[in-house]
Structures are given as structure tokens and as C-alpha cells.
């Protein structure tokens, strides 16, 4: 690639954006948006960030390791270890050239951060793919987005504008929650259905077409593109020691300006919500980490957005998203809607997930409805929660169980009222959080007191 002058940092003194809003010096991935309010094409990308440095594979991996980069796809696994596993997989006899898969599907309906990143800074992701290919010696790379995503065509054009050693194929994957789980992507790209598999080997050993495969979230790859340029120390200037760097966070629910924000890991939840304009109406709880994440009471407002501190209050970072639940909504009813959605997204392959999730959804719906059968449903639910987690081929059922457990804890007062046959006024309300398919009200309004 030919290059323009590298001007890689967002300068703190670049005072305001075209709208007069002060530019935050801690914005990295979304700088194009914050500074210029438009996506970067290749020329703008090179002007802003400069060229990719030429690093030997070992140098690059060492840099990722020193930076402490962790995956942004939900599990937070150290990226350097994943790259090394693929390099090891390559070393085995008879193995094929590695494959890099950039996961931009964003199956989690609560999250829009990958879409925002792919829109604003496609070349950071494409840089990251090129670097990951260099580090692993990959000969093939895929960038996966949901089928029908408006980003697909634009990404193909941006990818075609580049002259990377490895060309990137933009693949459209069925738009289902579990289709973007790593093993499902691998199976799909190998010519099979987009469903998780239970093969005992890892993708790093035998992935797409049997080749050692690196599956990384697109945000992870975009961070890789910047830390390769600026180094590990630069990367660690923001974030916490356990989770260095910035995070793209989706904010939503009862907020004034819901959307995607970029903040250093460890930013207090309240400060993140303030960036989204703060609440538009009184809020009772925050859904952290998406629909397979956790409800948290307002105690979470002062907690730093990082895995350790969140777990200490029973919450999870997951795919970073913060959705504010208004006081007027019923937490149990809203959880029932989410559970019904998650049950419908089961791939139907494993018994405990295929039968367990609908059963859990039915139980929590009965709790939300607050009828005479609610106490029995509650007892059943507690028993079934023990039966479902950890028994599927993928982590989908575990997310549903996590969400439900957190709901029983955080909405404890509502739960007791519902068990006593006194539901809250909003117990018949439609979903207040976005769901891919419109949910139906789960009980006739006549049942609700008041």
C-alpha cells in the first residue's frame, strides 16, 4: 500500500468536532466518527492512522501479548494465546495453511458495536485481518456478517480497494443468534450448516476445511491494527491492567441518546450512560452484557466496566452493552420476553437446550403472569435452572440460565409480589428492549391488577 503522512493519534488539542462537541482523546476505533462524522475510506484511513508497520510474525505476537489484548466477542480470551495456538496447529504434520475468520455477525440483538465499527472504520478491521494473517501465516481470510446486512456490499468494495497479501472474502451468514458462535462459523465456512458443533478439537487445530483457524471478533482485530502501529505501552495507557484498551459499548433502553460509545475499559457504568445522554425516565435496573448477560440493580452505576468488578456485583461484561430498564417496566415480564426469544434461537441440536430453554421460558412466563400456578412454576424453574447450564454443545443455554438467575435476584421484590398473585401494572407489557422478531404480549391485560 502507498501511504500518506502518518498522523496516527487523535490529538487531545484537536478541540472540537464539526458539531462543536469536544473530542475525547480516549477515542481510538471510532475516531473517524468522532472527528469527521463520516466513515473512513482507504485514503482517509491512511491519513488518520498511517501505514501498517512491517513486523515479523513473532514480533507482532509479542506485541499483542505485551499489550494484553483480549477478545471482544464476549469471552475475553487472550488474543496472543489464540494466535499462538493456530501457529502450533500449523506446525502439525499434514495440516493446511491457516485460515483467519473475522466475526462481524453480532448475533447478540442488544449489541450494535460491530456494525458501528464496520461502518465507521472498515479498514481498521481489514488491517487487523491482514495482521492476523501475517502472524499465523494464513492463506485465506473471511469477514463474516449477517445475511442481508447493509454493510456487506460496502465491505466488499472497501476490501477490493486494498492490496493485501491475503484477499478477504466477505461472507453472509444466516442471521441467527447461534450461527456466529465460533464452531458454527467454522462449519458454515466449510460448506455445512451454520450450527455449532461438538467436535472435541479446537478450531485452532482443525477449523475451516480442516485448516488451523483463528476466529476473532472484528473489534479485537481493529485493536490489533492500532496496537501493531503504536505498541503495547500505548495500548495500555487506557483501560485496566486486567483488560487494557478501550471498549465499544452499546447503550440502549431508557436513555436519551442510545447508541455505541467507545470508552476505556474500567470506566464507571454511570459515566458510560452519561455519554449516552443519561436516563430519559426513571430507571430500575441495567441489563449488562446482552441477552445472554445479566440484570444488575442500580448499584452497578458506580462499578467500573470491566469483568472483575462487574462479576463482584453479580453482573457480567460479556459483549459490552448497557440497557437501561425503565421503572415502569416489569423486569420479570421483560425477562420472559427475552427467554422466549433465546429459546427460539436454540439450534435444536442438544436435548437440554432444545427442551430446557422452552421449559425455562414457560416457567418464567408463568411467573410474569402471576396466576395461581406461579408458585409451582417458580419451584420448577429453580430445579430446571440446575439442569440446563453446561450441558449444551455451545454456551447458548448458559447465557439464558445466567440471565434468568440474575432476574430472580434483581427483581426479587417483584417476584414475591407475582408469587402472591399481585403482579405489577406492567406485567402484560410488550418487550421494551429490541428483539429481532416482534414479541407478543404474554398475558391478557385483564389479568393485571389496577
Amino acid at each position: 500500500m502507498t501511504l500518506a503522512r502518518p498522523t496516527h493519534r487523535v490529538e487531545p488539542e484537536a478541540a472540537t468536532d464539526p458539531f462543536g462537541v469536544p473530542i475525547r482523546p480516549d477515542v481510538r476505533l471510532l475516531a473517524s466518527w468522532y472527528v469527521d462524522r463520516r466513515p473512513d475510506d482507504l485514503a482517509a484511513h491512511l491519513r488518520r492512522h498511517g501505514p501498517l508497520p512491517h513486523l515479523a510474525p513473532e514480533e507482532l505476537i509479542a506485541r499483542v501479548d505485551a499489550a494484553g489484548l483480549r477478545g471482544r466477542g464476549g469471552a475475553g480470551f487472550p488474543t496472543a494465546a489464540k494466535i499462538r495456538a493456530v501457529v502450533r496447529g500449523r506446525g502439525r504434520r499434514g495440516r493446511r495453511r491457516p485460515v483467519v475468520v473475522a466475526n462481524g455477525c453480532e448475533g447478540e440483538p442488544a449489541s450494535h458495536k460491530d456494525a458501528a465499527l464496520l461502518h465507521c472504520a472498515p479498514h481498521l478491521v481489514l488491517d487487523g485481518i491482514a495482521l492476523a494473517a501475517r502472524a499465523t501465516g494464513a492463506g485465506t481470510a473471511y469477514l463474516c456478517v449477517h445475511a442481508g446486512s447493509p454493510a456487506a456490499q460496502a465491505l466488499r468494495e472497501q476490501a477490493a480497494a486494498r492490496r493485501d497479501v491475503v484477499s478477504v472474502r466477505v461472507e453472509e451468514v444466516p442471521a441467527r443468534y447461534v450461527a456466529s458462535e465460533a464452531s458454527a462459523l467454522v462449519q458454515y465456512l466449510s460448506g455445512g450448516p451454520a450450527l455449532p458443533t461438538s467436535a472435541p478439537h479446537r478450531a485452532s487445530e482443525r477449523g475451516v476445511g480442516g485448516a488451523p483457524t483463528l476466529v476473532d471478533n472484528v473489534e479485537t482485530l481493529a485493536h490489533l491494527a492500532l496496537l501493531a502501529r503504536h505498541g503495547a505501552d500505548w495500548f495500555r495507557v487506557l483501560g485496566t491492567s486486567a483488560l487494557p484498551g478501550t471498549l465499544l459499548v452499546t447503550t440502549g433502553g431508557a436513555l436519551r441518546r442510545p447508541g455505541v460509545v467507545e470508552v476505556p475499559a474500567g470506566t464507571p457504568v454511570r459515566a458510560v450512560l452519561d455519554l449516552a445522554g443519561g436516563p430519559v425516565e426513571p430507571v430500575q435496573a441495567v441489563l449488562c452484557g446482552g441477552y445472554g448477560g445479566t440484570w444488575a440493580s442500580l448499584d452497578v452505576l458506580d462499578v467500573p466496566l470491566a469483568p472483575g468488578p462487574l462479576e463482584a456485583v453479580g453482573a457480567t461484561l460479556g459483549v459490552p452493552s448497557l440497557l437501561a430498564l425503565p421503572v415502569r417496566a416489569c423486569g420479570l415480564t421483560q425477562t420472559a420476553h427475552l427467554l422466549r426469544y433465546l429459546a427460539g434461537e436454540s439450534a435444536g441440536q442438544c436435548g437440554p437446550c432444545t427442551f430446557g430453554l422452552p421449559a425455562l421460558a414457560e416457567d418464567v412466563t408463568a411467573l410474569a403472569c402471576s396466576g395461581p400456578e406461579a408458585p409451582a412454576a417458580h419451584a420448577r424453574l429453580l430445579r430446571r435452572l440446575e439442569l440446563v447450564a453446561g450441558r449444551g454443545a455451545c454456551a447458548h443455554p448458559d447465557g439464558a440460565v445466567r440471565l434468568l438467575r440474575s432476574a430472580l435476584r434483581v427483581f426479587d421484590r417483584d417476584l414475591r409480589r407475582h408469587l402472591a398473585g399481585r403482579p405489577c401494572p406492567a406485567a402484560a407489557e410488550a418487550p421494551v428492549l429490541p428483539l429481532p422478531r416482534p414479541g407478543r404480549p404474554i398475558l391478557p391485560s385483564s389479568r393485571v391488577s389496577r
Binding site: S198, G351, R384, L387, A393
Partner: protein, 78 residues
């Protein structure tokens, strides 16, 4: 730990398992069925350690499973 002595663990493939329940009939000591008829290993997970005492039972179940959903495999090194 005892499972080191045989160096094996048992793994249940939840996708391959069709819930016949044969395994639970044969080795109720190792496998119980949930309310939907799907097997739970001792620890309620999809894999578990095998020690010298349970080894013959596990072998029996592994042989009996009609869908090859139960397997023995080397225990991962710590």
C-alpha cells in the same frame, strides 16, 4: 486425584445424543436422566473424570450407546 491413574475421561456429545437413555439403564451409578430423558453425567456436565472404579461401567455405557455419543478420551493434562 484418582482419575489420573487411568488418564481417561468420559465425554458426552450432546448433539449426537438422541436421549435413548440406554446408558442410564446400564450404568445408573454414572448416568441419570433429566426430565426430558437426556443423560447427565455424575457432575452434570458434558465430560467427567473416570477412575479405576468406574472404568468398567463407563466402558459398558460407551459400548452400548447407539449413536456413539459417549466416548472415552485422554484426560487433558493439568
Amino acid at each position: 486425584m484418582t482419575h489420573r491413574s487411568v488418564g481417561q475421561r468420559v465425554r458426552l456429545d450432546p448433539i449426537a445424543c438422541t436421549g435413548h437413555g440406554l446408558c442410564a439403564d446400564l450404568v445408573p451409578e454414572l448416568v441419570t436422566l433429566d426430565e426430558w430423558g437426556y443423560p447427565r453425567l455424575q457432575h452434570g456436565r458434558t465430560s467427567g473424570p473416570v477412575d479405576a472404579d468406574t472404568l468398567p461401567l463407563v466402558r459398558e455405557a460407551v459400548t452400548a450407546c447407539p449413536t456413539l455419543a459417549l466416548r472415552m478420551e485422554p484426560a487433558p493434562l493439568e
